[in-house]
């Protein structure tokens, strides 16, 4: 089998060096870049930049973030937040991207064409939190039934009998 992935940890950078590298590489795109011990860089991101930053992160020389670990959606009452957790084989470090999404018309660009594994995680975020992903190949509910009404992990969700017909 051809070895296509870099050796784990081959970049041999400390987490602070990775954070500095990301901050300089992405200039104004990534804000609040900080290090969460022991091996995670946390950064905020404007949702308009998500797609191009995702593309560049995957192609980043030396510490390419090749794997998307998961996408988590959080309801902060004032807004929603989508959290992308990435892993770099060469750097053996994680990157956590926080993207703010408004509560009214929560829409984001999909990253499933950059990391195919995002497909189901985005479906889950749609199912549970109601975030719509533009350009997603198949945005259906994933864990709940097709005819379920509402997005139950939102903090203002009220569970009514009418929400689950044919239950």
């Amino acid at each position: 089998m051809p070895h296509v992935l870099p050796k784990i940890g081959s970049a041999d950078l400390t987490i602070d060096e990775v954070a500095a590298r990301l901050a300089s590489e992405f200039g104004g795109d990534l804000v609040d870049v900080r290090v969460q011990e022991p091996d995670t860089v946390v950064a905020r991101l404007d949702r308009a930049d998500l797609k191009q930053v995702a593309r560049r992160l995957r192609e980043l020389p030396e510490i390419a973030y090749e794997m998307l670990n998961f996408v988590a959606a959080v309801d902060w009452l004032t807004h929603l937040e989508s959290v992308y957790h990435l892993y770099s084989f060469a750097g053996n470090t994680y990157l956590e991207l926080h993207v703010e999404v408004p509560r009214v018309e929560p829409e984001l660009e999909t990253v499933s064409d950059v990391w195919p594994s995002a497909e189901w995680h985005e479906r889950e975020a749609w199912d549970m939190m109601g975030i719509r992903f533009h350009g997603h190949p198949d945005l259906r509910r994933i864990l709940l039934k097709d005819d379920f009404v509402g997005h139950p992990l939102r903090k203002d969700y009220v569970d009514l009998v009418e929400n689950h017909p044919n239950a």
Binding site: M1, F89, E96, W120, L143, K145, P152
Partner: protein, 404 residues
Amino acid sequence: MPSRFETEAPDAAMQLALDRVRASEEAGRGSDMQGLGFNQVVVNMGPQHPSTHGVLRLVVTLDGELVKDVIPVIGYLHRCKEKLAEKRTYYQYIPIVDRTEYLASMNCEWGYVMTVEKLAGIQPTRRAEFIRVIMAELMRIASHQVALGTFTADLAPLGTALVFYMFRDREKILDLLEEASGARMMFNYFRFGGVRYDLPDGWVEKCRELMARMPRLIDEYESLVKDNAVFLQRCIGKGVITQQDVADYGITGPNARASGVPLDLRRTRPYSVYPELDFDVRLGEHGDVYDRYQVRMDEMRESVRIVGQCLDMLPAGPVQAGTLRAPYVIAPPPGECYIGQENPRGEYGTYIVSDGSRYPYRLKYRDPCFCNLQIFPKLLRGNKIADAVAISGSMDMVLGGIDR
């Protein structure tokens, strides 16, 4: 009143499969087999099909015996684990973690407890750390036994022979876990800062005795299958996961290691006392069904090694940091934390957002099976339906984890 012969309207996944069939027919891409004009048939495999090991449903489009398209449908075992976390204190939630991935409850509990400890700044005692490693590795052996046993049962030549051998020995491991925790499968054993009970008298000797016999038992399993020509033919070269797939689909655990990617969180992101222990990350070469089987077999041997070392190194001391009452009122400071932990199936991560109250504000699991399952359409396409069963068995899915 509907006629009893009337079929139900197709649901969204079924409709999607039918739409794809229609689209491919309209585009003139019917059968790939020259000279044969099979119709494409859409079949529901599961959710109550024995070979899917749980309530996994695969909507399979078949052309004769050839799998053309697969649409996995999940959610039949959804128990709102993430929603339940909102109304339970950190402490009350521990038993619920057990029930996510029920074949590796100890490991799941550990993942959750470790994340909360990191958030709250609790340091478990050293004896507790060793007990945790022992429990997690015993659970890993038991989990691989189920995985390999049911996988070989899917392959016709062996029938259920290996299942019986493996379940016989798995029961001995579960007995050990029961003796320590009080429960056979749903342990509720881990606590913030330690474990619930210290090991009972004579437990270490019993465990040592079983671990001394384990290598021979694993040899016995292997002798049953490794020279079986039919087994080898059905495994070798089937369902290859490339290293590119590992990155693309976020595959972790033995499935990634079978493809030669040394992604083992016990080594790449070491936690607890794993840095002090001597064990190898066993890798496959080709990423096919056989390698996934072999990696799991090898990992059982490594786990036996780890447990043996831990029993030798087990220090004396308390198994719980602070007083036993302290964890009941745990309220971590506001913040968020993600910790991945090497489950028998891959990276089992817990992402917790705390708002400073006694309840998790948001809890999210990164389940290894959920991520591994995504590759199914790519992996099964183009295979015979019988091989599709073998390949899906080799991926070791646990629906409790996928559906949460």
